[in-house]
Symmetry: C2
Subunit: 205 residues, 2 copies
């Protein structure tokens, strides 16, 4: 499955470079300097990468593992915002901007390794590498598109369609995430999701 490996400087550097080069050119020399600003955080299954009330003043890239971001509604029920698997970017932008503490928890569903870049280091990168500012802009642009798509699909589809959409687009997560969290991600109760699944099985037979 997913092992809890220890990373060498070299591994970190080459992995990060690969991510950065999806958006901007990076010289091998710059890559080393940039990678040096990251720190690697281990988060064991059930442990928290970020808790409500803390400031999430860093960018994170999931190298290995799987995490779940959730918050609470007025009635204290949990609501799953997102899952972060390998190569996912994670940042609690509300608290990142420093305006307020995080209302969101990020907990590991599997033992995970996250490469984190603290805001102060990030700011120095922005100052010293104009290309990095570009990386940030492009990264945010991509996330905005996916937010918008998700928002749409969540509002316009009914519970069954949302589940089908998830099945189609995240087949891998189905195996790795307990159904109750998938339910809460899809804004359904686990009870309802269970019924939806039963009906789908019946219609297949």
């Amino acid at each position: 499955m997913h092992y809890f490996s220890i990373m060498s400087e070299n591994e970190i550097c080459s992995w990060l470079t690969k991510q950065l080069r999806l958006y901007i050119p990076v010289t091998d020399e710059d890559a080393v300097n940039i990678a040096a600003l990251f720190r690697c955080r281990k988060v064991g299954k059930g442990e928290f990468l970020l808790k409500e009330g803390q400031y999430g003043d860093w960018w994170g890239f999931v190298y290995q593992g799987l995490l779940r971001s959730y918050s609470h509604d007025a009635e204290h029920a949990e609501y799953t915002n997102a899952f972060f698997k390998e190569e996912s970017f994670t940042c609690e932008l509300v608290s990142f901007s420093g305006a307020a503490v995080s209302q969101t928890n990020v907990v590991a569903l599997e033992d995970s390794l996250i490469l984190c870049l603290d805001k102060k280091n990030l700011d120095s990168l922005f100052r010293n590498h104009p290309d990095f500012e570009r990386f940030g802009r492009l990264l945010y642009e991509k996330i905005l598109v996916s937010y918008k798509q998700r928002n749409l699909f969540r509002v316009r589809l009914n519970a069954r369609e949302r589940y089908l959409h998830f099945l189609k687009n995240e087949p891998e997560l189905i195996k790795r995430v307990p159904l109750k969290y998938i339910a809460s991600y899809l804004s359904v109760t686990d009870t309802s999701l269970s019924r939806i699944r039963r009906k789908m099985q019946q219609s297949v037979r």
Copy 2:
């Protein structure tokens, strides 16, 4: 109310500079050069700033007026994504990135003036003014935060709470936008919104 004025170069420049300086420093000289890349679009009430199937390859800043962004769900019902009033930023990022044509329409609810920056001009700004890249990053960061907040409130609140939230946060729009569009923005039918309003009035008496 909202007049359909003609803008001078000077007006455009000083208004834009004010917007930019919320995020980055801009010299008066740069301001003139930047403003020259914008064009001013008039969109009369009921006319479209963007239609499904077009490429929205520009950034827009609403100088005056009010617009509504909407798309269609599977059953061809309308769904309102957003309202853009004075000082709002509007960009159809899905089609901006060039990946696909817009699935979204943007129509004017009032006569409007929008300052538009075409993607090719935007790209040249990004290349020549590193600060502008920063502006883009910060702008996107802010929008991401508001998307996330909106997503949360839309999923976690029931119809009545969503309406109350809107009342509290957008009191001005209530007066300027027909209720049926507010309903569709809140993911309720106009019928249900009407009932919600009646119940609220009854409980006040």
